[in-house]
Amino acid sequence: MAKQARNAKYTSLLTNHREDARSSWKRLVAAPVSSLMTVTVIAIALLLPSFLMVLNANLEAVVDSFRQSARITLYLESGVSVESAAEVSNNLLQRDDIVQAEYISQQQALADFSRRSGLDSLLGQFSENPLPAAIVLTPASTNLALVSSLAEELSALPEVDQVQLDADWIRRADALATALTILARGLGAIFLLGVCFIIGNTIKLGVEHRRDEIRVIKLVGGSHSFIARPFLYTGFYLGGLGGITALLLLLALLAAVQGPVAAFAGSDNFQRPGLAALLLLILGGALAGWLSALLASWHHIRQIDP
């Protein structure tokens, strides 16, 4: 008997939830203009940081290509023969921390220089080739400290005259990536806070609008959670709808900038946000809506005295 009564209680609690979900939805639809405006503002607030995140992911690819452009150039002593240079180069290639080693002979260096500079006539004035032979290494690591210590280590080789580390790009790339991440996260946090305020304010107006009803419900013994439930649904809907709208706007914007961004990134695989990230946008919006409704209703419903 007791179990049956409890079951009936759960069933009716479910029915109540369904009823609240439905009536909250109807209330939103009943005021389409203001609901639409709220949803749009929420969508914009969610859109900006998510757009930055996508942009960031694409710039990461550019940044990575910058990183891989780090080179260590070993200028060889003038007496080193082509054969021993090739041996040094082969030995270096055996190492795990070096992915590529390219030997550049004196002639090649000269040819490259004249092709790039167009200063043939100047070089013609030298009786001997002034450029040293070199081995250009591509390090495996993109970590600045590792690459530097590698360069340091190689400078001790007897065949090596001078080492030039061309890693400035790693430094810049790291700084750029850090800046972008901070920007996206910071803006994300600020705008999410904005979403919470918008929804909190909407809930506050809703509570005020239904003041009489809430007072009577309190008088007949309605608990706080009973009173708050429809508002929680409202927050959930607003946040979720804002997320969906942001998603649609994001996809439209991405379709528009896809070409140029891919061209800039120098690759034709434009990084689209994954399905999980898109779902997160909707769920995150809904969750933020629900949470801010929870806080706002807790605060404002408490203020109503029967």
Binding site: A8, V216, I217, K218, G221, G222, S223
Partner: protein
Amino acid sequence: MIAFDRVSKRYATGQTALTNISFELQKGELAFLTGHSGAGKSTLLKLILAMEPISGGRLQINGRDMKSLKARQIPEHRQHIGTVFQDHQLLMDRSVADNIALPLRVSAYGEQEIRRRVRAALDKVGLLSKEKLNPARLSGGEQQRVGIARAIVNRPRIILADEPTGNLDPALSAEIMELFRQFRQIGVCLLIASHDASLIGSLGERVLTLDHGRLVNDSGASSHG
């Protein structure tokens, strides 16, 4: 069910509304609460409903000390009390039936049970035909009866009424008082505030008289020690 023991109430404004009130009301008992305007009748009912905290003394409702009642226990406490308010407190944005169903909804009754009980309560107050109307379209007396239906629909152990016949004609007032007297037979405890002295006098029930916040007369005090 209701036990006042030297209870006093002083509002935050410094206004003393009740002083040293002691009386008990048992299961199945009915008492009228009377006194001049401002004597403290509404205040006394508010203490029972935990709408206001008591300032001194001891108040027990359904065997529970009101001082120990925590804020989150108040809703459950009120679910056992049916209240008819001086200004009926009906919601004009929904039907008569939905107004009466409110105490059942907050207690999470099933929809079928709600419909059954709402109709039973409406039948009791003679408004079965007005079930679907908006309360704004009812007369003052009918609105008052909707308020009564809402107070009884949850089958509470205690019924409180604040001027339930305030704006009704004598015949209707007598009818409503008769209705309240019937509930006593099913073990409900009733406390009805009213300053309709002639009506109260004619019923021969227990009368508690307040004067400037003091209980100056309890016609049933001797029989209830």
